[in-house]
């Protein structure tokens, strides 16, 4: 019975349609990528410039401190900063954890709420018209200015910090997700209609995956902003977190601690940014590989 389905065995097409690439070589095998040695060489090639620049900055810092061009209590030496980082590691670690926790929680809430808001806005123009002005208003109000209000309302706990992180990270998530959902190929949607796809099928199989590259560029902005949001919250009123550490150090004119706090804070932002990039590469290998080939064509 099943034979009747098979088409009458096709005569081989006159011009060989498939180039003489054997199965092993086609597509998949190429994607397995280079070996470990080559990968290391590539990482060095890509990474030495920023590392050199950073080293240069440290060198300038060190020279300024060592030659005492500036009073030591204004600019501490790298050594003094390092002493604080190692000597007071426990103290710093405790506060770093608080800030990281606030940042991550704020970021995750911003992503969930932002993505949901974007989906609703794209599917309902009424909701979009209603929400958009409010969103814009929430974005243009300086978050630092609302922070004291949140502290008055919500106290000195971590809630106002998380809320500020959410508020500041939310906007790039919504904007990128709306852009992504709207950027879908209209012909793809028409095709989906001829396939008899249910709206949720079209969303799950076409629109949502197609929007992810846009979403991820928004997430990279959002995650670094979330750190700022958490620290702003801590500045306004807190008894823990890196913002609190910096304020305390500032009050005591303890610049080595101030510098150490700043370094750790930037490190949180960098690490979170890199984590989002890694997630992007893992989740969207098709997008990353495409971008890489684009880069290599420019010379």
């Amino acid at each position: 019975m099943s034979q009747s389905v098979a088409p009458a065995s096709a005569p081989p097409p006159e011009p060989a349609p498939a180039p003489a690439r054997d199965r092993e070589v086609s597509g998949v095998a190429e994607r397995n990528g280079p070996g470990a040695g080559e990968r290391l060489a590539r990482a060095v090639e890509a990474g030495w410039r920023p590392v050199a620049l950073l080293a240069g900055c440290f060198a300038v810092w060190w020279i300024i401190a060592a030659a005492e061009l500036v009073e030591p209590y204004l600019v501490p030496s790298p050594g003094a900063t390092l002493d604080v980082l190692t000597g007071k590691a426990d103290y710093l670690w405790q506060h770093t954890w608080v800030t990281t926790y606030e940042t991550l929680l704020g970021f995750v809430i911003a992503v969930v709420v932002g993505v949901l808001a974007a989906v609703v806005m794209v599917y309902s123009s009424t909701v979009e018209k209603t929400l958009y002005p409010i969103l814009l208003f929430a974005q243009v109000v300086p978050k630092i200015a609302i922070a004291p209000l949140f502290v008055v309302w919500l106290g000195f706990g971590i809630t106002p910090k998380i809320l500020i992180a959410v508020l500041i990270a939310f906007f790039p998530v919504v904007i990128s997700m709306v852009t992504g959902l709207k950027a879908v190929d209209p012909e793809m949607l028409q095709l989906s209609a001829t396939m008899g796809a249910k709206p949720w099928q079209t969303f799950a199989k076409i629109r949502f995956p197609a929007s992810l590259p846009h979403l991820f560029s928004g997430l990279k902005v959002a995650v670094t902003l979330a750190v700022t949001g958490a620290v702003v919250g801590e500045f306004v009123g807190a008894n823990e977190g890196l913002g609190y550490v910096i304020l305390q150090a500032n009050g005591n004119l303890d610049t080595p601690m101030l510098f150490a706090g700043l370094l750790v804070m930037s490190l949180i932002g960098v690490v979170l940014f890199v984590l989002v990039e890694i997630a992007e590469k893992l989740l969207l290998p098709w997008h990353a590989s495409r971008r890489d080939t684009n880069v290599t064509t420019s010379y």
Binding site: A6, A18, G27, D185, E187, L191, T194, M195, G196
Partner: protein, 284 residues
């Protein structure tokens, strides 16, 4: 039990003679019927008539090509048949039923392959099956058949950006044929391909059409492509788009490429169509 349906949809290739004559057309149910169809778009400044008094019947298993200058509403016509667009007046029928809303008993191929970047060739083809919730096993077997038929073998696991334009269009064609649609709508499917690949795809499309026996409506800019592939060629004039003439090509279904291009029927038809299009628009 989809098997039984499949066999009825597939017209035996052997039975396919030359171009269907008037008698044949009356004998079979019309796959596509357009009756005095008009499409008007309303823009802020003015009303645009995209199609005007278009009537056309396409028989089951027939290959009809539509040629005409840009902006004559060729693509609009396909969208009408697919139910992606509503006619302002007149009746559109697909397999005897009036078209009201998107139809699922068609396959659609666009000029751009419109593939999902994150899916391999095979999984792009399977999208059709997933959306239709076809049983997995027969769908998989059907994909294997189509990959074989279209010469995609060895590229099943490649992603769209790893494929050439011709290969991408083959994937799109497989996707459109997966559910064995009685009617295949193709909107300049080879327009973005280089000349050589295009000729190759023309030859393959002729073979695939004979093997599957589906009705094909092909919109194209290429006169020779239209005449080489079609039983009948519909020539349209621009703004408002109307049918100028329908030409019976009068060649048998199985067509060798070089041989066909040298045939007097081919020369005569292409010459005639070129004359019509030249008269319709100064230069195209």
């Amino acid at each position: 039990m989809t098997m039984a349906r499949d066999t009825t949809l597939r017209k035996p290739a052997a039975k396919k003679g030359g171009a269907p004559t008037e008698g044949q057309k009356e004998g079979r149910a019309a796959a596509v019927g357009l009756e005095d169809v008009a499409v008007r778009f309303r823009t802020k400044k003015r009303d645009v008539t995209a199609l005007h008094e278009v009537s056309l019947d396409v028989a089951m298993g027939e290959f009809v090509a539509i040629v005409g200058p840009s902006g004559c509403g060729k693509s609009t016509l396909l969208k009408l048949v697919a139910g992606l667009l509503k006619a302002s007046s007149g009746a559109v029928r697909l397999q005897g039923e009036r078209v009201e809303g998107p139809r699922h008993d068609i396959g659609y191929v666009f000029q751009r392959a419109a593939l999902l970047e994150w899916r391999t060739a095979r999984r792009n083809i399977l999208l059709q099956a997933e959306m239709r919730r076809m049983p997995a096993e027969p769908a998989r077997r059907r994909v294997d058949e189509l990959i074989e038929m279209t010469g995609l073998g060895g590229f099943e696991d490649a992603y769209p950006h790893e494929l050439s334009g011709g290969m991408q269009q083959r994937v799109a064609l497989c996707r459109a044929l997966l559910h064995e649609p009685p009617v295949l709508l193709m909107d300049e499917p080879f327009g973005a391909l280089d000349a050589l690949t295009r000729e190759q795809m023309n030859m393959e499309l002729n073979r695939i059409w004979r093997e599957t026996g589906t009705t094909v409506l092909l919109v194209t800019h290429s006169i020779s492509e239209a005449v080489y592939l079609a039983d009948r060629v519909v020539v349209m004039s621009p703004r408002p788009g109307t049918i100028t003439e329908i030409i019976d090509v009068g060649l048998e279904a199985e067509r060798d490429y070089t041989e066909t291009l040298g045939r007097p029927e081919f020369q005569q038809a292409t010459g005639h169509i070129r004359g019509l299009l030249g008269a319709a628009s100064a230069q195209d």
